[in-house]
Every structure is written in C-alpha cells, then in structure tokens.
C-alpha cells in the first residue's frame, strides 16, 4: 500500500492537516480500505504509546544518587551555591502548614531543621540580594495560601446561611480588616522583598485569615 496519501496519514491522525487537505484525504479514505485500515492502526499505536507503563529500574539506584549528592552528611548551608533565603524557608513551612491543616505555624518562627543537615544560622549578609528571586519565592507561597483561603471562602459562602446576619456582618468586617492588613503587608514586602520580618508578618496575617475562615466554617457547620 503506497499511495500519495500514505505519508500524510499520521498528520491526519494528529489533526495537523489544513482544512482543504483534510477534506481531500477524507474523501480518499471513503474509497480506500487500505488507508482506512492504516489510520485505524496508527491510532492504536498512538493509544498504545500513551498507555505505556513506567517500569522500575532493576536495581535500586538511590544509593548511587545519595552518595553523589552527599546525603546524610553535615551540610553547611552557606557552602551551597544557591540563594538560601527566608522566602524559600517560608515556602517550605507554608507547604507543611497547608498539609497539616494549620497545626504547624510554630515552624515559621523557629524554622525546623530538616533531617540530615545542620543549618548554620544565616546572617543577613549571607542572603543573596536578589530582589526578583525573592519576589518570586514570595509569590509561590502566597499563591498557595491564597488558594487555601479561596477554598475556605467558597465553603463559607455555602455555609453562611446557617449564621445569623449580625454574625455574618461581623465576620465580613473582620475579614475585611485582615485583608487591609494583608494588603499593607504585601505592599511593604514588595518594596523590600527579602526582608525576613515582612515575610513572616505577611505569612502570619494570612494565617490569621485562614484560621478565621476555618473557625467560622466550623461554627456554621455546627449550627443545625
């Protein structure tokens, strides 16, 4: 089987033919069983490719990797060539917080020492003064917290009906209060992205919003 269309069949299957060509090929397919068969088989090959399963390596390769990265040894953070900064620590802490449902905010104040390494307390001059990297790192953890907050706000909207109007008003006022505080903290942080205190303060304030939403949702849910 080898007609003028054979070599274009994959493009057809992938939807890459222009309208005119596609029409012409489809007209051909109507009359050519061999090409029709080929198209069906090509589609099966694609499907098979997509369903290929990943296989594990036959030996465990981790020990080789571990040796090469120096895992399990004492690592002086300052010797690693990356910008070890507060926003990254907070990103890790926030991720932990959102995982555990809010019980781990202690980590923000006393950064947990990851197992297997010893962190030498970084001094301000050790921080690389890379404002845009810091801003990006902040965007990451605030992004995650914002997502968690948005989820809870949706929950609250659904549950609001169970609370009386006065309580709803008070809750909204306090959420607005916290939002203003968050706005101010963000503005300050944007002007000074790597600043440890401002990062922590923004994180704290966002946490307060998360906790307020959680608490009100719990109260609303408990109302019959």
């Amino acid at each position: 089987m080898n007609d003028q269309w054979t070599d274009r069949l994959s493009e057809y299957v992938d939807g890459e033919l222009a309208n005119g060509e596609r029409g012409a090929l489809e007209a051909h397919l109507a009359t050519c069983a061999a090409c029709r068969g080929a198209v069906a088989e090509l589609r099966q090959v694609v499907a098979r490719a997509r369903s290929l399963e990943d296989r594990a390596p036959q030996t465990d390769l981790w020990s080789g990797v571990a040796k090469r990265i120096g895992a399990g040894q004492v690592v002086d953070i300052r010797s690693r060539r990356f910008s070890f900064n507060v926003p990254q620590l907070i990103a890790a802490s926030i991720a932990l917080v959102l995982l555990s449902g809010g019980g781990m905010w202690v980590a923000l104040r006393r950064p947990a020492t990851p197992s297997g390494t010893r962190i030498v307390t970084p001094r301000p001059d050790d921080f690389t003064m890379n404002a845009s990297a810091d801003r990006q790192a902040t965007r990451i953890w605030t992004g995650r917290t914002d997502a968690a907050i948005a989820d809870l706000q949706e929950d609250l909207q659904r549950n609001e009906g169970r609370l009386d109007t006065a309580t709803v008003r008070v809750v909204r006022e306090n959420l607005a209060l916290i939002d203003r505080a968050i706005g101010q903290a963000r503005a300050a942080l944007d002007a000074d992205p790597g600043n440890a205190y401002l990062n922590l303060h923004l994180a704290d304030t966002m946490r307060r919003k998360l906790e307020l939403l959680r608490r009100i949702n719990a109260i609303a849910a408990a109302q019959s």
Binding site: A49, L61, V65, R68, A71, A95, L96, L99, T117
Partner: protein, 183 residues
C-alpha cells in the same frame, strides 16, 4: 514535631513541599521525590537511549536535579520540571554519543534495516522491544511525541532537525510499530 508531618502520603501538595525542603538541603525529602519519580525518569531514559545506559543516566538526572533544585520556582509541577531536565540530560548525552544528524531512515520499515540491533529479527517482540529496535532518530521522535507529548516544533529544536523531519520520522516509527501492537 515537624518530622511527623513529613510522613504524609504523596500528594501534589506534599511533592511541592518536598521540593521546597529538598531545595534547602533536605536529603530525605529528595529521596521521597526520587522514589516518586524514578520509574518515569528511568523509562524515559531507557526508551530514548537504551537499557544499558539507563541506570547511569537516571542517576545523572537526579544528581543534576539536586544541584538545580534551587532554580525550581514551583510555577509548574515538580514532575514536569524534572521531566524536562531528564530530556535535556538525554539530549546532551545523545550529542556526546556522536549521533549523526543525518542518520534518519526513510525506508518503509526501519525495523528491517541494517541498523537493527537484534540479530534475530524473527523472534516476536513486544511493543516496547520493538520500540527499542527502531533506529535512534525515529525512536526518539516517537518517544518524545507519542509517549511524552511534545510537539513537533519542540522536538525539532531539541533534536536539531526541521519539523518536517520530525513529522516524517514519527510517521515511519508508527507505521513500523503497527505490527507489534498486540504483543
């Protein structure tokens, strides 16, 4: 207390958390990431190159990922980032192997060609084996496009060919693999 939290089962969020921790030097977090992604990376490397090199290259990928973790900004999923890094490692290796750019087969059935690796092509092969026996160019295009989902424009750039070549190589690979669908 933090250690208890670290023993959660793997979810998208915990992958992100582990990436952040690993970026700041936590090797246990990196090991969890390794465990979660090694099969995928190894399979990619094996299909793109070959089984002999897959082990070494897989380790190379993870070592490089460890070094480069500080540049992972979390804007895409960690798996996607790692995957792209693996592809880059494979492509770099491909260059050092001295694969000629010109050696793309245009014959009807590449598997019948001289560059087949098996000495006894009569033995029935399963799909993955057949894939491994495709010539390098066709196989790599097929893996990148149909298995890994890259587009022709991207593949062309990665492999240093024009998109047209990528398309025709893909077609040849698919046509050759048709026969090994049911194995």
């Amino acid at each position: 207390m933090p250690r208890q939290v670290l023993e959660v089962t793997l979810t998208a969020d915990s992958v992100a958390a582990d990436a952040a921790l690993a970026a700041s030097g936590d090797a246990s977090a990196f090991e969890r990431l390794y465990r979660a992604h090694v099969n995928r990376v190894h399979s990619l490397v094996r299909r793109m190159l070959d089984a002999d090199e897959a082990d070494d290259l897989t380790q190379d990928v993870f070592v490089r990922a460890w070094d480069k973790l500080s540049t992972f900004r979390g804007e895409s999923a960690f798996g996607t980032w790692l995957h792209r890094l693996a592809v880059n490692v494979v492509l770099a290796r491909r260059k050092t192997l001295g694969v000629e750019r010109g050696r793309f087969h245009s014959g009807e059935n590449p598997l019948e060609g001289v560059s087949g690796r098996r000495e006894t092509p009569e033995i029935s092969m399963d799909f993955e084996e057949a894939l491994a026996n495709l010539p390098d160019g066709a196989r790599q295009v097929f893996v990148l496009h149909d298995v890994e989902g890259y587009r022709h424009e991207e593949i062309a750039q990665m492999l240093g060919v024009v998109p047209g070549t990528s398309k025709s190589q893909l077609h040849h690979a698919r046509m050759a693999l048709r026969r090994y669908l049911d194995r």
